[in-house]
Symmetry: D3
Amino acid sequence: MKISGRNKLEATVKDITKGAVMAKVVMDYKGTELVAAITVDSVEDLKLAVGDKVTALIKATEMMIIK
Amino acid sequence: MKISGRNKLEATVKDITKGAVMAKVVMDYKGTELVAAITVDSVEDLKLAVGDKVTALIKATEMMIIK
Amino acid sequence: MKISGRNKLEATVKDITKGAVMAKVVMDYKGTELVAAITVDSVEDLKLAVGDKVTALIKATEMMIIK
Amino acid sequence: MKISGRNKLEATVKDITKGAVMAKVVMDYKGTELVAAITVDSVEDLKLAVGDKVTALIKATEMMIIK
Amino acid sequence: MKISGRNKLEATVKDITKGAVMAKVVMDYKGTELVAAITVDSVEDLKLAVGDKVTALIKATEMMIIK
Amino acid sequence: MKISGRNKLEATVKDITKGAVMAKVVMDYKGTELVAAITVDSVEDLKLAVGDKVTALIKATEMMIIK
């Protein structure tokens, strides 16, 4: 199975904060902090927990560049 | 100056491909390839070139998680 | 393997148009036409072809509602 | 009136969950569950309620493909 | 008909550039330039032309803030 | 420092609502209301407060057009 999304970063879950609808998942990727805002449903569906090895996925059209 | 976007990855531009409207910018981030699809106007406005040190910016709501 | 993206539509590829950077992939989902704009790199990486059975993936934060 | 967004799915609202800022709207589209995360303001502005006939709108650049 | 997207800017089309898949639409909004990257199909479906009065639509989750 | 995002609107913060994960920031831009849904972390990191002069940033690929 392959996904069209071009950016895949293998990260480790460091912290999860749940609201009523959205959840914040903080990850570590080679010393850089990544933050994803996904639905609480997704956190539960994936049984996400601190320490999990995951892949952060970002579509190429969603990435900006600062110079 | 600070930006609300939570994910900032310091990367190096490796390759740029320009179409009529969109451009593909391939970057290296700690050994992982990043790909951003931005407008050609942005490439020219930022004078992006291979070898440039840049920051890839991703909003937390644009990041998915695979487990 | 599970993906946090909440919306997954099993569709069939009907048409692919490639530009220099972006490609348009037209799909059929139960009689409704779906259109995805992804990179040409992704089309090639997934070896997408007309007739392929695929899954269209959309993050919940990317879906609007009209009433 | 026409909207540039290419993907329009006629769905029925099945469930609404409101948080402080974001709301989750679960819809049924031809037997498939759709989930949109929109602002609570939007839910109130559209007077969204279970049973409403709505259209889920997705921009082509926001759709990924899995194969 | 109402759309959940919170940001609606009434603008005037100033320029359109078409590629094979994507088109760039430059608009004027009260003296500020807006740029949308939409599919060529959308430009044709809406019969977009210079001088058109349009509304630029942006979902709240797609807007970042710089301070 | 330049950002690839094509749309930059100089606005004034009018209201901030915080949830557990996401925050709603209402701004005024030349008499039009703008609404951004960003993380609470971003609101705190930028020390956003009512009356602040900010710039709303939107990537060209995130803007739709209604005609």
